[in-house]
């Protein structure tokens, strides 16, 4: 398996060769009849799982089955925000694990994922916000995670376009800042993991829809039926995001999940104007500027279960109203595209990672409205869980059984995130 190593010199050489010598990032191989592990879902989390299975656990006979094209679901539909300033200890460990992997991910994968720790500023508009964010700052400090409270003047200095005047309907009172938070290039994350995994022997199989999960006489999984024929495997990892309920139903497992459309939109590209990521939970909008120059704006979910990959227009209208209040300089900008992704939401707004009641069947889902940030950490702990058959210590609290046992990781109540 030859894979060109990307470096300044190799890119320079390609430039002079007219990029004719560029090889495909990964080979398009047909599915084999059997694998050691099948990953259902070729998004960032699934591809990362396959990569870490091959790179860290020596499990290289792995197939990633993707119904459409890799990274075409929520991996390509999110606002690429990365942060770890969660309240609960279990969440802090999980998301901080991911941030630490983000920090040298480009080097690890030899692929520029454009991780940019430009800072995530979370705005406080009310007395309650201020209390909650300060509580988060202190909880994070105790866990060794950077997060600091900024006064109004400090927030304005950090993000000059911010309207800190008293004329807003909900004036900004201050903000929590995680300096190591930021953004990354979502497509590059999928491509980088796919390329690195394929180089280790993983098969990336696109346009391959799983239609059934086969189980043996002992109840354990024995393989899958797909649109490209049956494939056998003793271990199956389901990483299907919004479609997890549908896939798990093939194995007869009902999940504590509901799928909702979550929308985002981008503006026309402009010159660099916006230095960081800003989130407001209270008036519900978040914004950053991509390296292409577009403002990337996140809105909310619709209230009802849907797989339609589009949401109500009033949802994005409300988000834009909030953006125009916070950043009056953007009031005359035009929006170019909007889209929806289907997010799978759990009752406590924390993910589910681990074993299922079906032997050999593993699940990694429930990332809800904020899964992109966790991609490397999620794949890392899930690969360990599949390879060893026991949950990674960081993943253990996120077991499916927590709903039966009442051991919630209640980020919904903590309200650290925009739900």
């Amino acid at each position: 398996m030859t894979r060109p190593h990307f470096s300044f010199l190799s890119l320079l050489r390609q430039a002079f060769l007219g990029e004719k010598a560029l090889a495909p990032h990964w080979p398009a191989r047909p599915p084999k009849p059997a694998y050691d592990v099948i990953i259902i879902g070729g998004g960032g989390h699934g591809l990362a799982t396959a990569y870490y299975l091959a790179a860290l656990h020596g499990v290289r006979n792995v197939a990633v089955l993707e119904r459409g094209w890799i990274g075409g679901g929520n991996t390509g539909r999110n606002t690429t925000i990365i942060r770890s300033n969660y309240l609960m200890e279990e969440s802090e460990a999980l998301y901080e694990h991911a941030v630490r992997l983000w920090e040298d991910l480009s080097q690890t994968l030899n692929y520029n994922v454009m991780y940019s720790p430009r800072g995530v500023l979370m705005l406080a508009h009310t007395d309650h916000d201020e209390h909650v964010f300060k509580r988060h700052v202190h909880a994070n400090r105790l866990a060794g995670i950077d997060n600091e409270w900024l006064s109004l003047a400090e927030a304005k200095a950090y993000c000059p376009p911010l309207n800190t005047g008293p004329d807003l309907r909900y004036p900004v009172r201050g903000a929590a800042l995680q300096r190591r938070g930021g953004v990354a290039r979502h497509d590059a994350v999928a491509w980088g993991y796919a390329r690195a995994a394929a180089a280790l022997g993983v098969d990336i199989i696109q346009n391959c829809e799983v239609t059934a999960i086969r189980r043996g006489a002992d109840g354990a999984v024995s393989g899958v039926e797909t649109s490209r024929g049956p494939i056998a495997a003793k271990k199956i990892g389901v990483v299907a995001a919004g479609h997890t309920s549908v896939v798990m139903a093939m194995a007869g497992v009902r999940m504590p999940l509901e799928s909702y459309p979550l929308q985002a939109l981008v503006s026309e590209p402009v010159k660099p104007i916006f230095p960081c990521v800003v989130m407001s939970n209270t008036i519900h909008a978040y914004i950053s500027q991509s390296d292409k120059g577009e403002l990337v704006i996140g809105a909310g979910t619709d209230s009802y279960v849907s797989y339609s990959q589009r949401g109500g227009i009033h949802i994005i209208t409300e988000a834009l109203a909030a953006i125009c209040e916070l950043f009056p300089i953007f009031r005359r900008m035009r929006m170019l595209r909007s889209w929806g992704g289907i997010v799978d939401v759990t009752p406590d707004r924390s993910p589910i990672i681990g074993l299922t009641p079906v032997p050999g069947l593993f699940v990694n889902c429930g990332w809800g409205t904020g899964g992109f940030k966790a991609t490397p950490g999620s794949g890392h702990v899930f690969a360990h869980t599949i390879a060893t058959g026991t949950p990674h210590p960081i993943a253990a609290p996120f077991a499916l059984s927590r709903f039966r046992e009442g051991r919630f990781i209640d980020e919904a109540a903590a309200a650290a995130v925009a739900h």
């Binding site: 509901e258 009802y304 279960v305 849907s306 339609s308 109500g312 709903f403």
Partner: protein, 102 residues
């Protein structure tokens, strides 16, 4: 935005309504007798289907009434609306109407 046919007021925009989740989930008659699995299943597990979904809505900014809706979660087309207490709508109800594009 959905146009929701309230059985009491007629079609109104979604903003007048509150979503109430999956319908036809009767509370167990004797919760104390349930196993932990059954109780957790009642509280947290949902059908979450890709396709026809029977769900509860409330016309909070109108008549205030609860009612049930049969909706396709792929197209978001609403196929039927019926009062609470009526038997669960057949999942096939309105299929002809939808296929005609009505």
């Amino acid at each position: 935005m959905l146009l929701i046919p309230c059985p009491y007021c007629g079609p109104r925009p979604e903003l007048e309504f509150a979503y109430g989740g999956e319908a036809h989930r009767p509370r167990p008659a004797d919760p104390a007798a349930l196993s932990d699995e059954a109780w957790a299943a009642f509280l947290y597990e949902r059908a979450n289907p890709k396709g026809r979904h029977r769900e509860r809505w409330r016309h909070v900014h109108g008549c205030g009434q609860f009612f049930n809706v049969l909706r396709d979660t792929v197209t978001d087309a609403i196929l039927a609306a019926y009062p609470v207490g009526a038997p669960p709508q057949e999942l096939n109800a309105g299929r002809e109407r939808q296929e005609r594009g009505a």
